[in-house]
């Protein structure tokens, strides 16, 4: 039977288990939107306020559910509006399929109305991208797009589909999803790893997003207990272990905990699991490598020895590698090392000068949350405070922009995550700068009746920029003080959401108790402009340089 290109897209989405897509229509995707209209019972389409929000929503959907997110936009400005969202997904290895319309094939390359070379534009920030110039290739390309996005180290794939391809007819043969668990290139010697672990007196695990992506939380916990190794987490790995686990030292690196920094510096073996050794996590590489063996395990061979040379590198799926290690490694005893880690963890306590501080706000909100509540953040001080003070217990409960550090990510991500998990309780920690970038998506949260609580840690500034200017630019606050008069509570009301202003913990609790079951709420929490993210290891520094007050 012959089908149109638009029908083939719908069929391929359904075959790949897609039930929800995020997007925004325009002339180059009208044939597809006509089919979405007819297939509304099979695929739910969420219209956002801005394409960037749709891309972040598809990303949040993928992070929360582990499924591949889908975003659809028109050509030209619709396509360029999702570039940040694609780059964001690329740097955090989030599986995403972006479908963009384009002008008719004969008009390509002629600077036609709303034509851009989105394949060229996105090339450095996708795993792969395609232009469909022949309808006969459409089904196969979409099949490949989902396979690439969801296999190995996951990431975004863009498929550019000219408008006339969507209307042409061709015979459609269903292409079942590929096995995304396709074998990964194996590299490295497990025996060497086992010997290094057995010989280590003070092993330390640095775990990242790869653990979450491969669903290896249980294995990580068992591994840490088995070999008596405390764990520090990268930002992407914050949900790889429960915060309550006694040897989970929390985030490591520039804005990590002091306990993680000290234990890391005292270790003789650093076991890096699913991380890329971002310079924000390592600081000075020479100091980082000194006096310890580095064992790096990652699914992406090109990550091994890229940023930090390792003595032992193993390429493979984290879950599988950990299982093989657990099969052979005996239970260790290491009281002194464990006590050292546990003692450092228990004494770490950043005091807050005033009562209504970022810490007390986040702790108050966390008491109102359940263990599966989705936490989204934007980018800045509030993001780091969330990492330091929010007790993440369950995997995939954090939606945050790690690699790209995208201000404005949070609102879209919260929407996507909340929808992916069937309207689960969701909290967005944000601040005035970031929230100002994509607050238009409040409209989407209202129309979709999503129970998202937006907590604005409102420091009337680009706090993170201000902190750097205080510390490294002698207080020259260039463009970081926002002389705005925005009333966020009234703004929320104007969007049809519920708005509150809370200046005390009591007012915050009252607001939280009134959080609606359907529809979003915004709580504007004014905080001191000079609150700092501490501890901090300055760029390129090491544990000796840590600033704690």
């Amino acid at each position: 039977m012959k089908r149109s290109g638009a029908q083939i897209i719908i069929e391929q989405l359904c075959v790949h288990g897609v039930t929800t897509v995020f997007g925004y229509p325009g002339s180059a995707v009208l044939p597809l939107y006509d089919e979405l209209y007819k297939n509304a019972h099979r695929i739910r389409h969420i219209i956002t306020a801005h394409e960037q929000g749709a891309a972040h929503a598809a990303d949040g959907y993928a992070r929360a559910s582990g499924k591949t997110g889908v975003v659809i936009t028109t050509s030209g400005p619709g396509a360029t509006n999702i570039v940040t969202g694609i780059a964001n997904a690329y740097l955090d290895s989030v599986p995403l399929v972006a479908i963009t319309g384009n002008v008719d094939v004969p008009l390509l390359g002629k600077d036609s109305f709303q034509e851009v070379d989105i394949v060229g534009i996105t090339q450095p920030v996708v795993k792969h991208n395609f232009v469909v110039r022949d309808i006969e290739e459409l089904a196969f390309i979409l099949h490949e797009a989902f396979r690439i996005a969801g296999s190995g180290r996951k990431g975004p794939v863009l498929v550019d589909i000219p408008r006339d391809i969507q209307t042409k007819l061709c015979t459609y043969q269903e292409m079942k999803p590929a096995d995304t668990a396709a074998p990964i290139q194996k590299h490295g010697d497990l025996q060497e790893a086992i010997q290094a672990i057995k010989g280590s007196k003070r092993p330390y695990i640095y775990a990242g997003g790869g653990v979450v992506a491969s669903g290896a939380q249980e294995e990580l916990l068992e591994f840490s207990r088995r070999i008596c190794a405390p764990v520090g987490l990268s930002m992407m790995g914050m949900t790889a272990l429960p915060a309550s686990y006694e040897w989970n030292l929390g985030m490591c690196g520039m804005h990590g905990t002091e306990a993680a920094a000290i234990v890391e510096s005292e270790s003789d073996l650093l076991i890096a699991l699913g991380v890329r050794f971002s310079e924000r996590a390592t600081g000075d590489i020479e100091a980082y490598r000194k006096n310890r063996t580095i064992l790096h395990i990652d699914i992406d061979l090109s990550e091994i020895d890229k940023n930090v040379p390792s003595q032992i590198g193993i390429c493979g799926d984290i879950k599988e590698v950990l299982r093989s290690l657990l099969d052979t490694l005996p239970q260790r005893e290491n009281n002194a090392w464990q006590q050292r880690a546990a003692q450092l963890k228990s004494t770490q306590n950043v005091s807050s000068q005033n009562n209504f501080s970022p810490k007390s706000i986040i702790e108050t909100v966390s008491r109102y949350c359940r263990s599966d509540t989705l936490i989204a953040t934007d980018v800045g001080q509030h993001q780091i405070w969330t990492m330091l003070y929010y007790p993440f217990e369950k995997c995939r409960t954090l939606l945050t922009s790690g690699g790209l550090g995208t201000m404005g990510y949070g609102m879209g991500a919260a929407i996507g995550g909340c929808i992916a998990m069937g309207g689960r309780q969701t909290v967005l920690f944000t601040s005035d700068g970031s929230f100002g970038m994509n607050l238009c998506e409040l409209a989407t949260a209202v129309s979709q009746e999503l129970p998202i609580v937006v907590v604005i840690l409102n420091n009337q500034s680009l706090g993170m920029v201000r902190q750097w200017q205080t510390m490294f630019y002698e207080g020259r606050y260039s463009q970081s003080t926002l002389h705005r008069k925005t009333d966020f509570a009234a703004l929320a009301d104007a969007f049809g959401a519920i708005g509150y202003k809370a200046a005390t913990l009591q007012e915050l609790e009252n607001a939280l108790q009134n959080a609606p079951k359907v529809g979003p709420m915004v709580i504007d929490c004014p905080i001191n402009i000079d609150e700092k993210v501490l501890p901090m290891i300055p760029p390129g520094g090491c544990v000796e340089d840590i600033i704690t007050s």
Partner: protein, 84 residues
């Protein structure tokens, strides 16, 4: 710095050359010479790319190139003595 040659078997399709040279450009590695030929099987082309770099750069390039969808095979050729 040491010259090295990478041999690639790639899909014979528009845009492929761009993806490969883009990878070199993003990392700031100059391409000293480049050869592209269709293989006996017209679906594929063979590329020979000469550039410069130490062992770290050579390994990185091989591993990054291997990740490209259109790249089917990557071989780091034995270093040729260019000064003979």
């Amino acid at each position: 710095m040491e010259k090295f040659t990478i041999e690639l078997i790639v899909a014979n399709r528009y845009g492929v050359l761009n993806r490969i040279t883009g990878l070199y450009a993003r990392r700031g590695y100059n391409i000293d010479s480049l050869n592209v030929n269709e293989t006996a099987d017209p679906q594929f082309s063979r590329m020979l790319i000469v550039s410069r770099g130490d062992a770290y750069i050579q390994t990185q390039m091989v591993r990054q190139l291997s990740k490209l969808y259109d790249v089917k095979e990557v071989t780091l050729m034995a270093t040729v003595n260019f000064k003979k």
